[in-house]
Subunit: 206 residues, 2 copies
């Protein structure tokens, strides 16, 4: 219920405050910051988001965000086309790419099954994933979803739905984070990491 | 150092991450949120900030942000033109307006004197304030700056610079905040509030 002396500032604050995690006070701080910037800088910000929304599309194959119909990962002939890593959203693709430990392809579900949020299997790109498996090129599906109940539910659903394809299903390892001290690790994680213990490989294990 | 599959998203994230208090992770979260919004909504956000920066100006009289040469407060003939409240920036005008306790005019300094930040008296709108006092219409200046060393320095400078005008100088009251418990109030504030104690006015004091 602030009193704005400028309708232009009020409009900008109203729009900025619609962003997630940004309240009216922060929105006003951002607006006043923008007022102090060069006109060209503010135009760059405004047009970059308009252009992104207008022109960025989802890859026809893996549903990753892309500037073209087929994304750069699906188009890269050097990548291993026999392994597909299934993730919840685009950020997960970036996180895994940043590890440089995976050279296969991805499939972005666009969410996970969550009845409480009204998200069912049909809201996700699961049919498209099934289509990709028909070519028999794929031999392994890595399930890389969140270690939550919803993630587990989705993993289970995917397995049931896709097991007809005679493909190896794996999930990313869950256990004690690198650098974590045991006494501060939660019981469930610690318990699972004991059950899923692995052969000690000396230096390779580090 | 994230790997973006879309140059358009990367550009938007780069621009969003220039905003104060917004890091690259938050910028990415905002960009992905915008991708899910209606195209028209994103255009509204983008154009509102561009338009604000292009068209909003500072009031010629009080330096408050305004859509016109003279702001709505300075233009309002119902306001008391004999009292000027001096504030640091536009947000302070809004904060005081929201109290509905002040019916005079404002003067926005655009900062406070802070040698450490390289801000001296000439970087502020002090000359413009002196010009406003020459008409002899103004009888009181309310100094409403932050209760910091910089605020005190600026108050003192303004007093020295403007005392020739034979005007009453007042500062906003400093003391225990309404609703605060005494034992949690800092010593300096509590000390000042004892020195500056006021006659008890019964219910009016509440």
């Amino acid at each position: 219920m602030s009193t704005y002396s400028s309708k232009l500032v009020e409009n900008a604050v109203n729009e900025l405050a619609k962003l997630p995690g940004i309240g009216r006070k922060t929105a006003l701080r951002l607006a006043l910051h923008l007022l102090k910037q060069e006109k060209a800088e503010v135009e760059l910000l405004g047009t970059s988001i308009i252009k992104m929304r207008a022109d960025a599309i989802f890859c026809k194959v893996c549903h990753n965000i892309s500037d073209n119909e087929i994304c750069t990962i699906c188009n890269n002939q050097k990548r291993n086309r026999s392994v597909i890593c299934v993730v919840e959203d685009i950020r997960d693709v970036m996180a895994i790419e940043n590890t440089s430990q995976f050279n296969g392809l991805y499939h972005v579900l666009g969410g996970i099954i969550s009845p409480l949020d009204g998200i069912g299997p049909n809201d996700l790109t699961i049919n498209k994933l099934a289509d990709r498996l028909k070519g028999k090129e794929v031999v392994e599906i890595i399930l890389a979803l969140s270690a939550t109940i919803e993630g587990d539910t989705t993993n289970f659903y995917l397995y049931k739905r896709l097991k007809e394809f005679d493909i190896l299903f794996t999930t990313i390892a869950r256990g004690v984070s690198v650098g974590d001290e045991l006494e501060y690790t939660d019981e469930i994680t610690l318990g699972r990491s004991i059950i899923n213990r692995q052969p000690f490989e000396g230096l390779n294990n580090r």
